[in-house]
Amino acid sequence: MTKALDGLVVLDTTTEFWAALGVALLGDFGAHVIKIEPPSTRREANAGTWDHLNELANRNKLSLALDTEPAAGRAALEALVKKADIFVADRPIPDLEQRRLDYASLAALKPDLIYAHGSGYGPAGPDRDAPAIDELAAARTGIMPILQQPGQPPVYTEAGQMYSSVMLAFGVMAALRHRAQTGEGQQVNVSLFAGNMYGASLDIQAYLAMGGERFLQPVSRLDAGNPMSGVLYRASDGRWVTLTMPDTDRWWPDLAAITGLDVDDERFNSHEKRCEVNRLELLSTLEDAFSKQPSDHWRTELNARQMSADVIEDYGYPEGDRSAVRNRYIIDIEDERLGTLRSVGFPIHMSESPAELTKRAPTLGQHSAAVLSKTLGYSADEIAQLQTDGVIAGVSDG
């Protein structure tokens, strides 16, 4: 079976989890990803434990431990760039310029190169070179102070960076399409700020268009805009039930039936009454109704009527969910020493060229010799010399 991205060569110099994971999405579909790391890189995990985040972010990659500063290291890097389709970096641009790893320096070697850059805040503006820290990017998107219940501290979800990861891969693919049509390479820019903003799209766009205090403060769950959509009610066992039925006309008869309300109740018998005139009254009525039965009861009732609603679960649910495994959203990795490891898997299903785990995350420099010999044609002596000079690492002695 051919893989979707067979033949594409990606040089990955990223240092941050989110950017490395964006590159892994390409490796999952068969791109030939060479991770270039300084020989001095330290891995965080202790011996005998599993470096699980590294495993995820660097799966399906080769590791070349290469110091690109000395002339011999630079020569190897330049030779690789000339054979590459895509180069990915996430250090600040001034740093990359100083190391001659910026777009202009590398495009001079390979004019149709696609150069993807991940930053904190994007390539323009006063903070273009500020450090890329997801918490700080999230703090700037306006969403953190409004997710929680009133009176509670703001919320940092960790999710913003994940949009940025996918954007990195998406931007590269769009640029590849353009290159295939025209032969032209270019720079792709993604940032944590943009990713966090995108994740909060609906609130942000609503505020841009409508404004108002309602988008600046947390809204109590018992003041939700639609008592049947985007709401939480507490069941008698303390667990939470959520409903998303924006089209209340369609679902009111079912909801009324399971909560013991009269479908013709004059307070609630139109969308306008439910969501505008008597909105707060319906919220408190449903709060009361849901508190009378345990969550299992509600799940049974909601599912029997195929309603868009469910009970809030924790990570134990997907961990134990057979369909999460069958869909390969969660995968098992067999490790000789550690046994079966469970990992986040592949979010995109493809019928003909599915994502695959072909290579575990590499150890530092695990493929230094292989990359230099197979991709660049270096001789064993040349490789040994680079190792002796400290330009590369990871090649075992003898």
Partner: protein, 402 residues
């Protein structure tokens, strides 16, 4: 100017947010996206009247922004004439995208098996709720799927209700994931000449959204499934604090230099000299006490005052801003994360979320906001599919088109 996705034609048979936003990413970069809608009212998102109980006002931004840069065709797929139009369009298209139920699609003869026969080069993309091998068949919306992933249960302070990651947060990742999958499948199609079926489900995409903590949970740290108080942050120097006027986020590694730098700004000599906090293990071992002490110290000044003290020292920190500040943030505007565009519906320029992915030579653009229902039906029938005007009139009479 050339667009990155020039020449790609997408049939967008989607509703609400996840599917439409997937196609929007493609449309922003120049793909010709044809939104196919039912003649009776079209996409239900056209009917959104309020968000968070705030009336949408004179333009329905919810629908118009997600469906920007698209054409609209109003076709009744319950009519044979309507289905024939779709089959002809499939022959002329690169991508078919839907987030409707597979039962509906099969009833309208739009299953993958049928469309692949018509056009083997077609990339057939779905946004299902629970994945191709899922066992749940009920309708899926962002928050009800997010409920199952475990993402909500771990947010917020212990004892508080679970927290939704934000309106549309799950649809946003599902849509983006579908857009990525489509481009990957197109890349292969251009090499092999054969399309395929793909699915980026809400469930799968949202589990990926949780990767930073879900991966650790799967690796054995079960505490990651639970709510964790900010007063229990393992590194007190990387935490949020409430200044006298508002919250701020502080992001310092737990190092001695960092602590001496920070503690020197706090106007509290006792705290700076407290031996319990003098080493990294001391600070993490006494993290609750240190957080309490920092709470007290930071509450004495405004967030802006702390920024002025910390910025020259390079201490990474930021006030936790609100949407009003974001709307005026030059960083967002200068990077085209926000753009101004003309809205036909209200005959004036409006502010919309812009282009989160930048391509230096083929930047995306917001050319038009969402189309009117059926605005391009006739144009596509006559120009793309070669229908005669007589046939168009006949289809209208049959009720197959609007």
């Amino acid at each position: 100017m050339a667009n990155a996705l020039d020449g790609i034609r997408v049939i967008d048979l989607t509703v609400w947010f996840q599917g439409p936003v997937a196609a929007q990413h493609l449309a922003d970069f120049g793909a010709e996206v044809i939104k196919v809608e039912r003649p009776q009212g079209g996409d239900l998102a056209r009917g959104v009247r309020s968000i968070k109980a705030v009336p949408v006002g004179d333009w329905n931004q919810y629908f118009l922004v997600i469906n920007r840069n698209k054409k609209s065709m109003a076709v009744d797929l319950k009519e044979a004439g309507g289905r024939e139009i779709l089959h002809k369009l499939v022959k002329e298209s690169d991508v078919f995208l839907s987030n409707l139920s597979s039962e509906n699609l099969a009833a309208w003869q739009l299953s993958y098996e049928e469309l692949r026969e018509i056009n083997p080069r077609l990339v057939y993309a779905m946004n299902t709720g629970y994945g191709p091998f899922g066992e749940i068949t009920k309708p899926s919306f962002d928050m009800t799927v997010q409920a199952l992933t475990g993402l909500m249960a771990r947010q917020g302070e212990p004892g508080q209700p679970p927290i939704y990651l934000g309106m549309g947060s799950g649809d946003a990742i599902g849509g983006l994931m579908a857009a990525l999958g489509i481009l990957i499948a197109l890349q292969q199609r251009d090499v092999t000449g054969v399309g395929q079926y793909l699915d980026a489900s809400l469930y799968g995409a949202q589990l990926f959204l949780g990767a930073p903590s879900l991966q650790g949970y799967l690796a054995g740290d079960k505490t990651l499934a639970q709510q964790r108080s900010r007063t229990d942050a393992p590194n007190p120097l990387w935490n949020m604090y409430e200044a006298s006027d508002r919250w701020l986020m502080l992001c310092l590694e737990n190092g001695d230099e960092h602590w001496s730098q920070l503690s020197g700004t706090l106007d509290d000599e006792a705290l700076a000299g407290d031996e319990r906090f003098a080493t990294d293990t001391g600070r993490s071992g006494h993290h609750a006490e240190l957080i309490a002490a920092l709470d007290a110290a930071i509450a004495n000044q405004t967030a802006d005052e702390w920024m002025e003290r910390w910025r020259p020292l390079g201490i990474p920190a930021s006030p936790i801003g609100n949407l009003e500040e974001l709307a005026n943030d030059p960083q967002a505007w200068e990077n085209d994360y926000f753009v101004e565009t003309y809205c036909e519906e209200v005959q004036r320029d409006v502010n919309v979320r812009g282009l989160p992915v930048g391509l230096s030579k083929t930047p995306g653009s917001v050319r038009t906001l969402g189309p009117e229902l059926g605005q391009h039906t006739e144009e596509i029938l006559t120009e793309t599919l070669g229908y005669s005007w007589e046939q168009v009139v006949e289809l209208k009479e049959q009720g197959a088109i609007l």
